[in-house]
Each structure stands twice: as C-alpha cells, then as structure tokens.
Amino acid sequence: MAHASGVGARVRRKEDERLLRGRGRFVGDIALPGMKELAFVRSPVAHARIRGVDIPEEHRAAVFIWADLAMDGVKPIRAVSGLPGFKASEQPALADGKVRFVGEPVAVCIAATRAEAEDIAAQVFVDVEELPVNADMLEAVKPGAPRVHEHWSDNVFLETNVGGAIAEIAATAPVKVTRTIRTARQCMVPLEGKGVVAHWDRHVEQLVLTTATQMPHIVRAGLSECLGLDQGLIRVVAPDVGGGFGWKGLLQPEEVVAGWLARHLDHPVRWTEDRREHLVAAANCREHHYEITAYADERGRLLGLEADAWVDAGAYSVYPFSACLEAAQVGSILPGPYDFRHYRCRTFSVCTNKPPIVPYRGVARTGVCFAMEQMIDAVAEAVGREPWEVRLENLVPPDKMPFDNVTKKHFDSGDYPESVRRAVAAIELDGWRARQTRGEPDGRLIGVGVATYCEQSAHGTAVYYGWGIPMVPGHEQAQARITPDGGLELRVGVQSHGQSMETTFAQVAHEVLGIELARIKLVHGDTALTPYSTGTWGSRSMVMAGGAVATACRTLAERVLRIGAHLLQGRPEDARLVDGCVRVGQASIPIRDIAHTWYRAPQLLPPDVDRGGLETTCGYKPKSDHGTFSYATHAVAVAVDPELGSVEILDYVVVEDAGTMVNPMVVDGQIYGGVAQGIGTALYERMPYDDEGQPLASTFMDYLIPGFTEVPHVRILHMMTPSPYTEFGVKGIGEGGAIAPPAALCNAINDALRPLGARVTDSPMTPERIIAAIHDASTSAAASTAEATR
C-alpha cells in the first residue's frame, strides 16, 4: 500500500526552506580563516608553444606554474579508455610547454581577495609562439592538419565502427534519403559556476576539498592519482551545488591546483569560476556532425540506416568519462527507439583546439535524436505520409518488449507507439493542419513537429566495463541508521544538486519503514560520511541509490520486526510493519521504542538479535544491469516568421514514461527544466569560434540561454510502465527533457518552411539560419525556373 508521503506522493521538498531564505551553503559562501583567493592566468590563444611565463618580480611568491607542481611530483590528468585504438592525452593542471585551447590554465595567482589575485594575473605575461589551429573538426581530420598532440599520428582520439553489411539494402531500397546535420558547441551554464575551497586539516591530516561537484568520490580518486596522495588523505565535500548538468561531473585542473596549493602553502585557498571563465574555458559539449542515409520501403518502413558521425572532443580526454564516450555512444544509440535490421555507423572522436568535451544532460542523445528524427521526417516526406504515421510504422511495439535492438540495447518495457498517438492527440494536430491550410493573417507559417526517443539511463557494470575508463559503476551503496530517538539517517554517495534527493530518498525510506519524512535525514556529498559511489550522472541516482536506500531499509525492517515481535511476545513471522509500528495481532510498538530498546535498554533484546543492530550498509543493482529505458514523444507547434526568421512556440506537449514516479512533482520539474535546456540547444545556444579558435561569446549578452519569455508552459502527460528490473519500477528521468526539443523543433520549423521549399538541418536554428534557408530555396527555385524557360 502506498503511504501518503511514500513512493508516488507529490510532497514538498525538504531542501526548500533553507534555499528560500538564502541560507543554503554553496562553495562561494564558505570562508575559512586566513583563506586566500585564486585567479588563473589562461591561454589567450588556441594553440601555441609557451616560450616563457613572465612574472613581475614583486609577485614571484604569489604565482605558480606547472614546473612548481611538477617539482612536487604532481601528475597530469589522464583519462584513458580501454577501447582499442584510443589515443591517450595528458592534461597537466597548468599548461606544460604548450597550450591547446583558449582558456587553458597556464598559471595561478594567489592573493587576499579575488580582485587582488586578478590584478596580479593581469601582470603575468605568457610569451607564446603561435601554432596553426584546429578550429573545426572536419578540417582537423584531413591529412596534413596540424596535430594537437604532436606525437599522435592524426587528430582522432578514437574511431569506432558499429554494424556491418548494408550494401545490398543500399542498392535495392525503394526510398533513400541523405542528410548532412550539424549541432553547435555549447556551454552547460549551471547558474552557479564551478568553485572550490581547499585546506589541509592538520588534526585529521587530510586535504579537505570542498567543491561544486556531482561526484565527490570520483574527484577524490582523480585527485589522489594526480597529487600522489593516498585516498585516505583526501576528503572531498560537495556542499549545496547550484546545478551541474554534467559540467560538475569531472575532475577539474583547477581542483588539482587548489588541492596542491592548500597543501603546499598550508593555508586555505578558494577559486570561484566566474561567468566569463565558464563561457570561454568551458564551452565543452554537444558539437556533432552527421552524414546520414536512411533506407525505407514505400510505406516508410525503415530497412536500414548508415551514418558517419564526428564529435568535436576538444583538446584533452577528461577524467573520468574520457574523450570518446560521446562519439562511441553515437554509434550505439543512433537507431533510437526503432526496430530495423541493417545498420552501419562509423564515429570519430576528434581532437581539436577547443575545451575538452564533457557529457552534458542527455550526452550524445540530444544530437542523435536531432539526426535520427530528422531522418524519420525525411522518409515521411519521401513517401508522402504524416511523420507520426511513419514513426508508428517503425517504433518497437509493446508486444515485443523487452526488446533487443540492432545494437543490442535491451529496451525494458513500455508502449512507444502509444506515446506518439497520445502526443499527436494532445497537440491536436488536425487543428494545426487546418490552420496551415487557411494561412495566418500575419503571414507567419505554422508548423508541427514530433520527436520520439528512448533513453538508456542508470547504466550498470555491463555497460561501463567495456569502455575501460577510470570509472565503472558496480553495486550502489546506501547506509541506513535508525537513531536512538527513532528517526532515520540515510547516507548515499551520489550527490543532489537540484534533483531533490533529500526528499525523494526519504520518500523511499518512508515507504519501507513508515518513519515520518520530517524525521528522515539524508547525508550526501561527503567522502568522509558516505559510501563510495560514482556519483550523480546518467539519470542514475533514483534507480541506483534509491534502490540501495530501499534495500538498506528493508534490511532494517527485518531486524526491527524481529525485535518488535520479541517485545510484543509474538512470533516474527506474525509481525508486520504498519505506519512506523510493529504489529502482532492487535498489539503494536512504534519503531521509536524499538530504537530505544536497542540503544538504551539492550537487556530487553532477544538473545539471538542481529548484531548489526539498527544500522546497515547495503549494495544494490537492478535485476538487469543494462540500464532502464525511459522514453517520450515531444510534439510542438510553432509559428515561423518568414521575414524575420523568428520562431514562436505556440504549444509544447511531452508524453513520457518514467516508470513509477517517486515524486511526480519532482519528475515534472526535471522535465520542464530539461525541455527549457533543449529549447536553448534548439534555438539559441552556440559558442561560435573564429578560424583561430577564439570563442566569440563571453557574456550572457552573446551566449543566450532561454528565459521566462522563451520557454512555454510545457504540458506533460505521463505513461507509467514500471521497469521490470528496478525497485518500485522506477526509471531514470533526469536528462530526458533535454533530448527531444531540438529534434521536435527542427521538424516543426521544417514543416512550416515546406511550402517555401526550405529546410534547416543545423542547430541552433537561429533567425539567420532560417532566413538563409528561405533565401537559398528561393534562389535555387529561381535558378531552376530560369533554367526551364531558357
């Protein structure tokens, strides 16, 4: 039976009170006695040899370069993938002899205030000899391109090949459509930048690094490798963290530098990333290029798919995910939620003179969905059917679930076609089609777009060991402890930075033990206080750590029942837990009294009581290690102004299946937020680079993220097919919202532009691009008319 505040309840969040009163504690809010501030001197150029770093004499003691760290034995960051052919890069925390992207840290300056540290940084001169730059990944793979790492044979971290024979389909398929598709390089832009405070704790003899991270345990492992310190000598703490989205899921060079300085100087230091640093040095995600061909029959049934894909992975391989995760993932997930037999995909992780790539919410899926869903619409156009009908033709039907697709992805459950039918009904497609035929009085063009995806989330060991990267998730751990006064403490190694885990994990525990939410305390984000975890990424926390919390609570429930039955003079097999009390027949005893007995009146315990007491750490893995598959269909109606190129979103519907929802309010929030980011990807966000690899946006005035007036009131409809493999049937949902918007919006814009013969294929779909597409279409139409009349 579901409890009023257990799994499935829309309860308010425990974390809200402090945040609403400005009493949260973010890294930037922490000041330690004697703390000094850091400012980094960063590379002004994308590729150069460093001839020297000129430090004014009076600031010698306040400026450090790589040689200082190296002398102390500090090692470069290495994130190697075990996939065959992977080329390893070494990233020193401060540049060593060469800089490979604009914004790469070269030196660090230390002073009493940030302003003074920046004053010093402004006087440090990096003397460079500029080298030819790889600013574009397609140029970088050409023979003769300058090498980012000169000892490599080319600029490719890794090439992968998935699938095989497709020539026969290619030769015989009645329908063949080909597209070139591109997505832009983006910044993740959590509203709180990165930040770190480091100090050496003399009493416990530990380096304490308080940092805005999604993965404290992984940062500790990485720091240990770079600093040459035992992990036991390092404690990593994540306080309140102001959003992550992937940007806080890595070991950062700045963390290594801060950690080294704190120990070397033996006093506390703090670095706070400012927005300019973030936009310049951390434009690190989403840049894909596809050459893709779909083969189909006359009804639009897919016969095969073939693609070459390039991902701009930047200059270095990032710890722990490596430089190849994203491109290699393209190869394995490009087929999307569809059922077809023939597939070939070749991918390249390209090394360029740009910031190193980090997985952003949705990782490769946003690009993959953008490409694949354009292809479905292209096939639909070729066969003259509605795009949603062609989706129905190809989606894995519910009676085939669970289903192993062409790349051996194991789809766990759900009704993919139904999500399309519901989305098409909810957006009221017929009404928009009628309006399209009538035409708009203001001359704007109406378009409707649909996009469907499924998302592997909460990937387990089976998925990750194959990558051979520094991190492979195993059994996720949670610790549960009933306190002497009958409350509950939970400890998890994942980290909550907006996901509401303080509330939702309490709901899970409440569901099992019946202890009231107000008396359940979640401890997270501290390597000293929590069990090891790879952290919060990949929409995994509720599935994995939530499952571990449930497992630990069930173990405690078992013990509580035994003690309770003994105290009630009943048999354990007759005892039940109801609303936080053990009941045997009509007799009942609250957990509070059982806790009191264990801690303060042990003489009353049964002689064979479990010696583990009211505290346990349990590990958890879902029954299938291949991840859960949530899925959704997004449908959007737009009005495109053919004169201005502007796009107005008139309605936006999401039909999604996250399995069982622990807190529907929180699930909705994740989707709303994800969609807003997806709209940014679709219409606004791009870090432009010039030919010299200079980033051309450095403030929120030129890097646009969507605001109140750009994001519509999205409508969400839920389907709830419990996963057969997880606790309560939950599926990972954190990233999903951000995956489909670029695809749905692209299809909608192209639906609107169709009467003009124009088409956009690249994100973001800015007014300039839309106008250019219309212009190109009218020029080529004019040219062919001239041709015909000649």
Binding site: R13, G24, T113, D240, G242, G243, R275, T699, F700, V714
Partner: protein, 161 residues
C-alpha cells in the same frame, strides 16, 4: 592599491559603516564583508538576476552596483525578507509549485517576484513572464516559478474581495 572610502548605509534594517574600495560591487560587499551570502552571483554582467536585491525598496542588480554608490541608502537582501509577508507567501508558493531546484537563482527570483506581486496585482501569466524576464533559471524551466507567482496573486485577489 586603490584608496578606500568610508560609507554608511542600512543593510536589512541595521546601520553599517565600512571602508570599501571604490571598485567593490555591492554583491561582493554584502557577501564577503557582511557575510550575507544569500545574494548569489550568476554572471556579474547584470544579466542573470541572481544578485537582485532591494535598494530603498526598489529591485536592483547588486553585481553592477558599486558599494560606494549605496552610501546613505537602505539595502535589503533575501535574508532581510524573513519577516516580509509577501515574501512569506512567495516562499510558501515556490515550495508548493516546485519553483526551485538547485536554489541558486532563488534569492533573486524571490526579490523580483515580490516586486511583481506588489506592482502588478492583476498580471496574467504572460505578464508575469515579461515582468520576470530579467531573471534566469537553468533548472526549473520557469513553469513552477510562474505558477507560484500566479498562486500568490490569486490568493491576494481572493483575500481583497
């Protein structure tokens, strides 16, 4: 080293006298010197609104306001809104409507939202969005925030009738 200037201002109802460098912006002054860390910095370019505070009761961006310019003025931060009845209603509504996730934008959102509630009592959802468009949030997709403000406006309307 620049020369400090001594200023006297009211911060959350208390008189404060301090020597500040002319280049120090109000947010740094509040956060680093007054230890009022509820005022957050999301851009320091005057765009994101996370640093929004009240100067003499009017919303302002503390990242592009110099502390020295506040000599003789009254500054209110999110910490100073603990007892404010409109802010109290908004806090309740933000929580009910899930108007915050990581909470980093939240102090600035509350200050701006309070201003909207007081200044635009009849605003519809669209007007709420336009009025709030100087504040950015990367987590919520704005729906919960609009709903929260809507909830407070509706409740005040009902109470007034």
């Amino acid at each position: 080293m620049t020369h400090s200037k001594t200023i006297t201002l009211t911060v959350n109802g208390k008189a404060v006298t301090a020597a500040v460098e002319p280049r120090t912006h109000l947010a740094d002054f509040l956060r680093e010197r007054q230890l009022l860390t509820g005022t957050h910095l999301g851009c320091e370019h005057g765009v994101c609104g996370a640093c929004t505070i009240l100067i003499d009761g009017e919303p302002a961006r503390s990242c592009i306001t110099l502390a020295v310019a506040c000599d003789g003025h009254a500054v209110t931060t999110v910490e100073g809104l603990d007892g404010d009845p409109v802010a109290a209603d908004l806090r309740e509504a933000f929580s009910t409507e899930h108007g915050l996730q990581c909470g980093f934008c939240t102090p600035g959102m509350l200050v701006s939202a309070r201003d909207v509630v007081l200044r635009r009592p009849t605003a519809d959802d669209n007007q709420i969005r336009v009025e709030m468009s100087g504040n950015l949030c990367r987590c919520t997709g704005y729906v919960g925030i609009v709903n929260a403000i809507r909830r407070v406006l509706d409740a005040r309307k009902t109470a007034a009738e």
